[in-house]
Amino acid sequence: MRLSSQAIRVLERLKQDETKSVTEFEEEGFDQATVNRALLELEEEDLAQSEEQEEIVQEVTEKGEEILDNCSPEYKIIQQLDSGITPIQELEGNTNIGVGKAKQKGWIDIDGGKVSKTSEGEEVDVDPVKDKLENENFDDELEERGLVRSEARTTKTLKLTDEGKEIEISDIEEDFNVEAPAETPRTGKKHYYKNILQFARETWMEMGFEEMSGDYVVPSFLNFDALYTPQDHPARELHDTFFVENPENTDLSEYEDKVQNVAETHQNGWETGSKGYGGEWSKEESERNVLRTHTTAISANRLHKMDINEEELPKKLFIVGRNFRNETVDRHHLAEFYQTDGIVVGKDLNFANLKGYISEFFEKMGYSEFRLIPAYYPYTEMSVEVQVWDEEDEEWLGMGGAGMFRPEVVKPMLGFEAKVLAWGLGIPRIASIAAGLTDIRELYRNDILIINETPVWRPNWKKNRGDQ
């Protein structure tokens, strides 16, 4: 009898245990495809047979995890009613779902916009949804609400036949087949997203840019005020920005008079030739720490730290870094994301140059067509959105913002007038396309299979991209 070396190895293992599932083989380091091919050969020779069993596996989704960490929206509602009848507007949490579910379950009555507990609601003392999730008591409700996901998994088990038990390995001749694929070894491997970020860094350096660095926790002064964002701007509210409980505030003394200059710029334009916004400006507000919402905060700090005179300009700087926004996480949004910021500081720079740098960068990142369309950011004027043409989907993709820093930003922080070209561009989109992801959360999920099977990304290697 002749068998391939792989079939012989599988047979050897089977002879030890008689039955073994494909998963067990995998745990012992076998490749699934190898086991299946070996099985075909063994079946052909009547040495083994297989049995398939379908099993429904249920697992808690991210939405379910959130309930596990906190509680279900309806429970949150019922808890808030402990103090009595409450107007619907005052309820906190995901009230749309919470009130709906609580009503459906007969826990609450709503009358003229006011919510009260029913007698049934009075009796709720544990959160039934969380309880079911905790005890893995998964039912239809959980599944319909997307808190639990079912997946059918087929398990295949290999079993020796009598003939298989009898045959001696030494009686089998090893067959050599040059066409048969071998097993792909599990090797060390870099994360595809890190590689793309690294490629972006190298691209800026190739273009002569110097790298900046900075911290995640920054004062509002850098994240907003120095960037001419009014103190009552909606982006500074709790639902957009993560504020920091500890350490709560920054001592701004290293910025010396610049704090006052920024204050005056907001109030009356200071020496920038601007009218300013008018109104009040509070130093306390600017001392409050936030998780930086954009790497532009680091660019602003770099203007401050750039202790050089005008002759040493121009200067080109970049950073690839993480930022944080208080967004509800879903397949398109993350609370933590990468951005690449760049600034070019100089006397003889203009808007056409901005367009030059951005077009150069995206060309190197594999997008030959790009355009700028008007946008608005408080700190740039010319404010533009950068869009690149996606050949595959035939549509313009938004890749971030760019512009020239307003004089209201430059003079107070740099100390003298200069032109500053600036941009903050997103990279996750390039990474999702490279790995064929439809859910951006996958970038941080670290599934061994996906990291293992995603090929190396290069902008002009279009052939090896995953399916979208």
Partner: protein, 548 residues
């Protein structure tokens, strides 16, 4: 960003020319309002918060008359002198100090127009009005009330009227408690004992700003004359908003009549004047335009402009975003179209350079993958529990987020290791052994002015039936070998490792990390059931040592 819905027929009538849907989607967006979709007559348009004058079909049409070359230059609006007066009582000083007013007469309003006005009002409330706190607007059918009007603050139980959407008289306090608008905006008046109202000569309430109007003055399709009130906390914002509304109504053919507010005539629709130096324009934009070409483009953006030593620019009274010459330059370039600018790279003599630590980090990534580890990429955000209880640590020695979305985001990690334990937890259904590393940032509390700084670390973890302490030690030695430095291991006491298998990593006697095999208890906390070992090392200390 504000999303508007406008009727294409209305737009066409007001612009005075019909455009293909395609032209609107493709080209109109280059003005700075994005035309997302046109379905029949319904157009979805998205505008930016710096241009409240584009929040109505009237304002959009005015802008496109310039942009599409139909009527360029500043639109002039006449204001006739009227005799309506508003007295401002000093009691409003503490509550809501500013009020503006205007009258627009001889209107012919369809239901559609009224809907559009309500949309304009609501969007202005949300954007420049900061959810009515900074600004609130009321429109009233003038024929229902008697001038003069008084703006004053009163005790909540002293005044009652029938608010819109309700059919009974309510006191101001009741409105805040019971009316849906009252409930929604009560926060603005939270700390006040007295509430602002506008009443007429006979003591009838027109409005209870910023909450609700009297049903009595509701504007309907038979309304011919409108009284506009704008109240708020910032005088300049109130006046700009008033101009925006008044001119939008004037676009509908109404005639504007002034109102005397506390002795001051409003609205003031005269332009602000600014100068734009052509040379400065060319310098900033990189566009070689002649003075006459710049003027032409300013007029396309509805500015008044004429030549001279510098270009004299008249900024329309409804624009509140023009603060600097840069703002004028942007509008000139928008009129010229961003797409018509040739990208140009300047000569800048500079060699690319990376942060010192980055090079070491990249080398370490190479070594770790060569050693057989898979690279993970995890969040810096962490659950506070993951950094304490779940790794048997008591002290909460990390950055805490004040307003996290959920517990998962309530802290920034001060250790990499919990992130890698989470990675193992997520991969339990994959084959073993599993070997991961990550080079990344943590945030450490310190005595810097901010109170916390980023630190670069690298962590390694391995799990599997046969895994033990030695596996971590082996890989650490690969790092030593390839970097050519010495890492000393001394007994340690990390709370998440087994007491006998816990070590600290020292570089030249200084602490630079830890190594060990996880305790059963900690593995149980992460629902891991196979022996697991790992190490974490400070890349900055490693880098310093390498550079010595």
């Amino acid at each position: 960003m504000a999303n508007l819905e406008i009727d294409k027929r209305e737009f066409t009538n007001l612009v005075g020319e019909e455009f293909e849907d395609e032209k609107l989607i493709e080209e109109a967006s280059f003005l700075g309002a994005h035309w997302h979709n046109i379905d029949g007559n319904v157009c979805q348009v998205e505008t930016y918060p710096n241009r409240p004058d584009l929040l109505s079909v009237e304002g959009l049409s005015r802008a496109y008359r310039g942009f599409f070359d139909i009527e360029k230059g500043r639109t002039k609006y006449d204001v006739e002198k009227g005799d309506i007066k508003v007295e401002v009582d000093e009691s409003v000083e503490e509550v809501r100090p500013h009020i503006g007013g205007a009258v627009v007469r001889n209107l012919d309003l369809s239901k559609k127009v009224i809907e559009g006005l309500i949309q304009l009002q609501e969007k202005m409330h949300e954007t420049m009005g900061r959810r009515r706190d900074k600004l609130a607007i009321g429109l009233h059918d003038l024929s229902t009330v008697e001038a003069p009007f008084t703006y004053k603050a009163v005790q909540p139980e002293k005044v009652e009227f029938t608010p819109l959407e309700y059919d009974k008289n309510m006191q101001l306090g009741e409105i805040l408690d019971e009316h849906n608008k009252g409930q929604k905006y009560a926060w603005i008046l939270e700390d006040e004992d007295k509430y602002p109202i506008i009443e007429d000569a006979e003591g009838r309430v027109l409005s209870f700003p910023p909450i609700i109007n009297n049903q009595l003055t509701e504007v309907y399709s038979g309304t011919e004359d409108i009284f506009i009130d704008v109240t708020g906390k910032d005088e300049a914002t109130v006046k700009k908003a008033l101009n925006n509304l008044t001119t939008a109504l004037a676009e509908r053919g109404g005639s504007i009549e002034s109102v005397t507010i506390d002795g001051e005539k409003m609205p003031d629709l005269s332009p602000e004047t600014m100068e734009l130096e052509p040379e400065y324009f060319r310098d900033v934009s990189g566009l070689e335009l002649e003075e006459s070409e710049i003027i032409e483009r300013l007029k396309m953006m509805k500015y008044g402009a004429k030549g001279g030593k510098a270009i004299k620019v008249e900024v329309p009274c409804y624009r509140n975003d023009v603060m600097h010459q840069y703002d004028l330059i942007e509008d000139v370039i928008i009129a010229h179209r961003y797409t018509n600018i040739e990208p140009e790279l300047p000569e800048v003599d500079q060699i690319g350079q990376q942060q010192d630590i980055q090079d070491t980090t990249q080398v370490v990534r190479d070594i770790m993958t060569e050693a057989g580890a898979m690279e993970a990429m995890t969040y810096v955000h962490d659950n506070r529990e993951d950094l304490t209880e779940k790794i048997n640590v008591e002290k909460e020695n990390f950055v805490k987020v004040d307003n996290p979305l959920s517990e998962e985001y309530s802290a920034l990690r001060n250790l990499m290791m919990p992130s890698l334990l989470k990675v193992l937890q997520k991969n339990k259904h994959r084959g073993y052994p599993q070997i991961f590393f990550e080079a990344g940032n943590v945030a450490e509390l310190d005595d810097s002015p901010v109170g916390a700084s980023n630190k670069k670390k690298m962590a390694f973890i391995q799990t599997g039936e046969e895994t033990d302490f030695t596996d971590a030690r082996r890989i650490l030695q690969v790092l030593e070998r390839d970097l050519g430095i010495e890492l000393e291991i001394r007994e340690g006491n990390q709370p998440f490792f087994q007491p006998a298998r816990s070590g600290k990593i020292l570089i030249e006697g200084e602490r630079a990390g830890f190594i060990g095999q996880f305790s059963e208890e900690v593995l149980g906390n992460w629902e891991l059931d196979k022996p697991t070992a790992g190490f974490e090392i400070d890349l900055e200390k490693l880098n310093e040592e390498l550079k010595k």
